[in-house]
């Protein structure tokens, strides 16, 4: 076995994709809901992770989720737009807002970037929380799902079909980010994360690349919001709250930041854990907290990150003493 780190990562993703598609239709109606939720959160985690490629970690990603959800919900419910067109407009809004906010957000980095993004998301949250247009804190129901029956034969109002659709969308999003990561653009982001000063000294436009990554992340995040609000059929300011930003951050860290597939595993794990803990224990946040503490102390690189490091170690010990470089 001499698979490279990247090949192992892709293999894990492919196995999860196939397993999900095979297992999901055979599960109970309730499990379908969990599959859909996990797949949507996984898309959201991917949007955070593609930004993390450039070395920026956002604590306000729920802003993009909420933005996509409110754009889609507003256009379909209030303006009676067809859902298909609303999806594209919601993604476009994600890009535009990503560019505008990014112009000053990506000037900062580290803890400061965390705070600026948090502030931006909270501004959006407090706006929709009070906004009479979207019925403020009470939220707004009746958000429709996409009608793709004539195209694919899938009726998305059927839970099985919707869960399948979510998984397929998640796989597509994963392929997109994996593809972007190997383009020159993606490679440059990687280099910026490893040493922004060096890239800057070499003449790389760190600001522009990070801005582009932020807008791209905004697009995928808004798409996750579009999916999320189709799943619940309900617009709520909570979609944009910092708790959601924290959840997705934790999902990415648990899975392994920068591994893409880690976010998918993290999303599945968090949805599953929340479900079994909350239905079996009254004080399930205690257990969830305990799991976070465990992961932070025992698997600080996340599940996938730690696994990949372990395979690196095995490879290194098998091969000649020559130094091996990891790819990511």
């Amino acid at each position: 076995m001499s698979l490279t780190r990247n090949q192992i990562r892709l293999l894990i993703g492919a196995v999860i994709a196939v397993l999900s598609l095979v297992v999901q239709p055979r599960m109970s109606a309730f499990a379908q809901e969990l599959f859909a939720e996990a797949a949507i959160l996984a898309i959201f985690a991917l949007s955070l992770d593609i930004l993390a490629r450039s070395g920026l970690v956002s604590f306000g990603h729920a802003g993009f989720l909420g933005l996509g959800a409110y754009a889609f919900g507003g256009l379909t419910v209030l303006q009676n737009w067809p859902a298909g067109a609303a999806v594209f407009v919601a993604i476009a809004i994600g890009i535009v807002v990503g560019l505008i906010v990014g112009i000053f957000a990506v000037r900062t980095s580290g803890a400061f970037f965390i705070m600026v993004t948090l502030a931006m998301a909270e501004m959006f949250y407090s706006w929709v929380f009070r906004s009479p247009i979207f019925n403020g804190a009470d939220g707004m129901g009746g958000v429709p799902r996409l009608d793709i029956k004539s195209l694919t034969g899938l009726d998305l109002n059927n839970p099985v079909s919707f869960a399948t659709f979510c998984i397929v969308m998640c796989i597509l999003a994963w392929i997109v980010v994996e593809f972007i990561a190997i383009t020159p653009f993606g490679r440059t982001l990687d280099a910026i994360r490893q040493n922004p000063n060096r890239i800057s000294a070499l003449g790389g436009r760190v600001f522009s690349y990070r801005l582009a990554a932020f807008a791209l992340s905004g697009a995928i995040g808004a798409f996750a919001g579009v999916m999320k609000v189709q799943h619940t059929n309900f617009l709520s300011p909570d979609l944009a709250s910092w708790i959601i930003s924290g959840d997705v951050l934790i999902i990415a860290v648990i899975g392994g930041m920068g591994t893409f597939v880690g976010g998918i595993i993290g999303a599945g794990l968090l949805v599953y854990l929340k479900e079994i803990l909350s239905s079996n224990f009254g004080h399930w946040y205690l257990f969830l907290g305990g799991i976070f503490i465990f992961v932070a102390l025992v698997l600080p690189r996340g599940i996938v990150g730690t696994f990949l490091d372990w395979t690196d170690g095995r490879r290194a010990s098998k091969s000649a003493p020559a130094a091996t470089e990891s790819e990511t």
């Binding site: 803890a111 948090l118 932070a296």
Partner: protein, 295 residues
């Protein structure tokens, strides 16, 4: 809404009082971050823990003052155990791992307190000495809130002298600016950090106790305030006392006056202040020297 001078004076005092609470939490978070690069979100859990301890102690002893002196000490003791058993292990990890760890502590801590005390908010009565309002600048103002302002000022002056005039303070400032050099000079920075962590935790505990009679004690009170405290630290700049003071004043005023001037967008005011500061000063207004560079 009346904007008469009396009303404005009252709100200015309210802002100042809230700023003092924010400061008590922000200074610990800021110096802990500055000295050890540790992003300790569980700082707010200590605030909540101290508030609950104050409730219990006040119930048992029947006196706010017993709680005022004992609860922060007890919270600090628990905080130090938490640090030595759990938090210390992530000292060398990235901020993200520290966030994961301390969010885990927040979740677990909130649930434990909820298990003990229940979901309903608890009230702590104000000390009898400060129940009557006092006349100040022509307005009648709750004396308990004035007490918080005074307490905050005393602590700020005390910390200023401790940091600027003592050997330990010099070590802390030097450690924030360049930890490795200080270590190379033979200083046990770990011991200095322990002490700083204890003082920061103690002040968070004091904040929890004095806040309890005003805001009540409830599960989740830590999350409400920790976001504001993080903003204070970012606006003020990392690792500096002056930054924490200035940041807490700005955010205290923005919060209070935001609620009056733009009731529809109360929180927006705070984030607006933060966004404007960070556009012009990406590292905050008065950061310690090490943080004046990019990011």
């Amino acid at each position: 809404m009346g904007l008469d001078p009396q009303f404005i004076i009252e709100q200015l005092l309210n802002s100042l009082q809230f700023a003092m609470l924010l400061f008590l939490l922000a200074i610990g978070l800021s110096v802990i971050f500055g000295l050890m690069d540790y992003l300790n979100l569980a700082h707010g859990t200590i605030y909540m823990l101290a508030a609950y301890l104050a409730y219990s102690i006040a119930q048992l002893s029947g006196s706010f003052w017993v709680a005022f002196f004992l609860a922060p000490v007890a919270a600090t003791a628990i905080g130090m155990v938490l640090y030595l058993v759990l938090l210390k292990r992530a000292e060398m990890e990235t901020h993200l791992v520290q966030v994961l760890l301390t969010v885990g502590v927040i979740y677990a801590g909130t649930d434990i307190l909820r298990h003990i005390y229940g979901d309903l908010p608890k009230g702590v009565t104000q000390p009898e000495f400060f129940t009557a309002p006092v006349q100040i600048f022509g307005v009648s103002y709750p004396s308990y809130r004035l007490f918080i302002i005074g307490l905050g000022l005393v602590i700020q002056i005390g910390l200023y002298f401790a940091l600027e005039r003592t050997r330990l303070g010099a070590l802390v400032r030097a450690g924030v600016d360049d930890r490795q050099t200080v270590e190379t000079l033979g200083v046990n920075i770990g011991a200095v950090f322990m002490l700083v962590f204890a003082i920061g935790t103690y002040l968070a505990g004091v904040a929890g106790v004095v806040a309890a009679p005003i805001f009540g004690v409830y599960p989740g009170m830590d999350a409400t305030i920790i976001i504001l405290v993080l903003i204070v630290v970012v606006v003020g700049g990392l690792g500096s006392l002056k930054g924490a003071i200035l940041g807490s004043l700005l955010i205290g005023f923005a919060d209070t006056f935001g609620k009056i001037l733009l009731p529809q967008f109360a929180m927006v005011m705070i984030y607006l202040v933060m966004a404007i500061v960070l556009i012009f000063r990406p590292t905050g207004l008065l950061p310690a020297r090490r943080f004046t560079g990019a990011g």
